[in-house]
């Protein structure tokens, strides 16, 4: 709607402003981060280099998966593993990614079993082809049927139940479970778990996780609609932070609790804005998935004795936040 | 007035020099020769009719004079000076205005907005420069009225007007913005008998008021009613070039229909 002269004027204006403001920020920013962070160089194993494919149902841009990948990368670096990571939130596409891994002759596969019906057959194909498979994060109920060696993760329903029990202890009456992606099995299982054990009222609210302002205003609207809500349970750290603003905006006295963590969330727990988080230790899931495969490939070890290895749930609240905070700032919790 | 075209002094042009003249103009699209060896001129108060069947090269000829395409051969002279028109805007600056078959109007926009489209009247200073809406509406209404077009609602979308009315609005617009040469592309092609009459009357009136008109048509009857010169195109070449005095309507019609070919056809279809 502007002519070229106007737009070039805008660019010029921006340039002038940049020059004028080029003074560095006195606080925050990368400089401060670099001052604070130390290195963590570990020795690399002297075992032969192996190629492991990791396939997940990560939706692009979800902070939770950062931690899984960081764990996997840390293990890969230490174990002399070439890690090939790929992901697709749609089950059929994830299945074809696993097939691609089989075709490219990897030494082992680590995958999430987000949809057992869609992924089971292709995992079995990998097993039949002699490729050891480890599953993690999703699929706690059906991982054995697919022929996988080991499973690392938490049972979403169990985690939800743990949340419900904790809410009972706290004497909560009315909890709202905020689901950021309608129809996602794991998220629904978490809310269902909460509903099972929580003796108060549990209600669901679906929000569009791709649109933060709309997440915030929908939570705000729900809090206005039902003023008796005293707990907001979010299923991801970024949504808990949005919920904190909504609770404030709605003038509600509800407390915010959440599944999963990230650095900002740890700070919010420290500040008391978020009461607690239930943690499934995604870093550990990623790390163990790769590390256990390396152990299996180099030494034939199997962890868990045929049972799923549970990485959660554990609670992070103000009492134990100090031990986690340091790692969270480093981006590994 | 915002248009610099209106100020172009007509008097300065020496009499006898054609407003627009084409000398041996040719145009190729790749390997296809669209036009070759075209000679044509139009003077003040004259109507030059360009006749021809579909695909004869009429559109290409218009596009060259209107500045939409450039010629490959020959010369294009405006007021005796050789020019190359690189855009419709440049042609307009020379006082050459084109009224296309599709009229170059935007159907959903009101008549007055269409009238001033591309040459809007504005006042105020940037960034608060705004349209002089009242002035534009009044001017458009008056100008159309002068041409004998009376519209009940100047705010009506131009798409709701009849074909003849739209044609006249387009011509009135060109005249108002200081056109000295009007190129009319098949203005009567889509019109009924009565509406064609209205348009032909304007063409005649425009010429009498001192404009040069290039009238593109495939209807020899319409051409003969208003034309001073006749140029016939066939397959990109000129097959006829004569004055009103030197030809009758029957001859023109026969030439237009392809002369001998028509006789063969008449013979064939004889009942």
């Amino acid at each position: 709607m502007k002519n070229t002269r106007t737009s070039s004027a805008l660019v010029a204006l921006a340039a002038v402003a940049v020059l004028g403001l080029a003074a560095c920020s006195g606080s925050g920013g990368k400089q401060e981060e670099e001052k604070a962070s130390g290195g963590n160089n570990a020795a690399v194993a002297d075992t032969p280099r192996v190629k492991i494919a990791m396939i997940t149902h990560e939706a692009p841009g979800d902070t939770f998966w950062d931690l899984i990948r960081k764990g996997a990368e840390a293990a890969a670096a230490k174990d002399n593993v070439e890690l090939i990571y790929s992901n697709d939130p749609q089950a059929p596409k994830q299945a074809s990614l696993i097939q691609t891994a089989i075709d490219s002759d990897v030494d082992a596969i680590a995958t999430t079993l987000s949809n057992p019906d869609a992924l089971g057959p292709v995992v079995q194909k990998a097993v039949e082809a002699g490729i050891p498979v480890v599953e993690f994060n999703a699929g706690v109920d059906s991982w054995e049927d697919t022929g996988a060696l080991m499973y690392f993760g938490q049972d979403e329903t169990v985690a939800g139940q743990a949340v419900g029990e904790r809410l009972n202890e706290e004497g909560a009456k009315n909890a709202m479970c905020v689901i950021q992606e309608q129809g996602q099995v794991q998220l629904e299982a978490r809310c269902a778990g909460v509903e099972e054990t929580f003796s108060g009222k549990t209600q669901k609210l679906y929000v569009n996780g791709r649109d933060m302002p709309s997440v915030g205003s929908n939570i705000e609207a729900k809090l206005a609609q039902d003023k008796t809500i005293d707990r907001v349970v979010t299923l991801g750290a970024p949504f808990a932070l949005a919920a904190v603003q909504s609770v404030e905006g709605a003038g509600s006295s509800a407390q915010v609790v959440t599944f999963d963590t990230n650095a900002d969330l740890v700070a919010a727990i420290e500040a008391g804005d978020v009461q607690w988080a239930i943690d499934q230790q995604p870093y550990l899931q990623g790390y163990e998935a790769i590390d256990s495969l390396w152990l299996y490939l180099t030494n034939g070890n199997i962890i868990g004795g045929g049972e799923a290895v549970l990485t959660g749930p554990s609670f992070i609240d103000q009492e134990n936040i100090d031990t986690v905070a340091e790692y969270a700032k480093r981006g590994t919790r | 007035m915002t248009s610099e075209l209106a100020d172009a002094p007509l008097e300065e042009i020496p009499t006898g020099v054609p407003l627009v003249q084409l000398k041996d103009v040719g145009k190729q699209y790749g390997h296809i020769i669209a036009l070759h060896g075209i000679n044509l001129k139009v003077g003040k108060g004259e109507v030059t009719c360009v006749l021809g069947d579909n695909g004869a090269g009429k559109s290409t000829l218009i596009k060259i004079v209107a500045g939409r395409h450039q010629h490959d051969e020959g010369q294009l002279l405006v007021d005796g000076q050789e020019v190359r028109l690189s855009s419709p805007r440049e042609a307009l600056n020379h006082g050459i205005a084109t009224v296309y078959q599709d009229l170059a109007v935007v159907p959903l926009m009101p008549v007055w907005r269409n009238f001033f489209l591309g040459s809007e009247m504005v006042d105020g200073f940037w960034p608060f420069r705004k349209l002089s809406i009242d002035q534009m509406r009044t001017t458009a209404k008056d100008e159309l009225h002068k041409m004998g077009i009376d519209l009940p609602d100047i705010d009506a979308p131009i798409g709701t007007l009849s074909g003849g009315q739209r044609q006249c609005v387009a011509i009135a617009r060109a005249v108002f913005f200081g056109a000295r040469v009007l190129i009319l592309d098949e203005p009567t092609a889509a019109l009924g008998v009565k509406q064609s009459g209205v348009v032909l009357r304007y063409i005649s009136a425009s010429a009498k008021s001192g404009l040069g008109v290039i009238f593109i048509t495939h209807n020899p009857h319409h051409a003969y009613m208003v034309g001073n010169h006749f140029v016939l195109l066939n397959r990109g070449r000129m097959t006829l070039d004569c004055k009103y005095e030197d030809i009758t309507l029957d001859q023109l019609t026969t030439e237009m229909a392809g002369g001998d070919e028509l006789q063969t056809l008449t013979h064939e279809l004889k009942r």
Binding site: A22, G28, Q182, E220 | D102, V106, L117
Partner: protein, 349 residues
Amino acid sequence: MSESPVATETPLADERVTKTSPLQKLLLRPELGALVGAIGIYVFFFAVADPFRSLDAFSTIMYSSSTIGIMAVGVALLMIGGEFDLSAGVAVTTSALTASLFSYEFSTNVWVGIFVALAVALAIGFFNGYLVMKTKIPSFLITLGTFLMLQGANLAVTKLLTGQVASRNISDMDGFGLADAIFASDFSIAGTTFRISIVWWLVFVAIATWLLLRTKVGNWIYAVGGDAESARAVGVPVVKTKIGLFMGVGFLAWFAGMHLLFTFNSVQSGEGVGNEFIFIIAAVIGGCLLTGGYGTAIGAAIGAFIYGMTEKGIVYAGWNPDWVKFFLGVMLLLATVTNLWVRNRASRS
């Protein structure tokens, strides 16, 4: 071509005889249908949902509408100009990420990042517009390409720089306070808190309306959307106008991005996907033609309001959340049909 019953060939006829009545003129406004739909939906939720009636609820709805509406203004203008921009949703995220990542990575004042983001947003708009005009490929395809490119770049660049998929928290950096006040602050009227983005939204709608109806450029926008060839033939700078429109969307994407950034202090790189359609929906509900050349900025604002009102109204009504999307679809369809019905009635009478 239609023969209008009111038009006359006879010169010197009395022009007042068949003049359109002012009422009919009002009914023919593009946004009227949307307005009727909006009132209908408002009355409906007012009747069925208690919490909907409060001023607080109105504030929440207006806020929600503003986050869509700011972009819908630019998208509506672009649609009137005859083009689409499917990259509009993720461009918002790109702007927010650019400002955040730039100022964080280089430890600059956040305003440096803000202006870099503005330059990037305008450049994206220019790129879209330039490609559409030079290649003559429909904007639907070109901007689908940019949409995917930006979606990928958002994620990849964020990961490359921060090692995670969200930008770092910048709330402790210099210049944050002022930026927060401009892009994401609150104010109170009669005890109710309103977000500043509502004000900005209304300001942008007013500017766009003025631009469309009262300026030369507005005339050109309608013309290039209505018939680009005709517009070119009478000397309208079609290419500049259209590129300008794409850059206008870029500018608003920058603004919406700044709101996103300073509201939440950090940005998820996967955000914004899918919003491009909501902007288009808002514009269409508001009376913009998908084919271009027709529509208003006010209409798009009403469209955004209908979307925000419906989305929140369902929550206020406390309906079964599993059905939310379904109800949303029904409401939007009803609003669109009402719009069409009103317009047809108006033009027939």
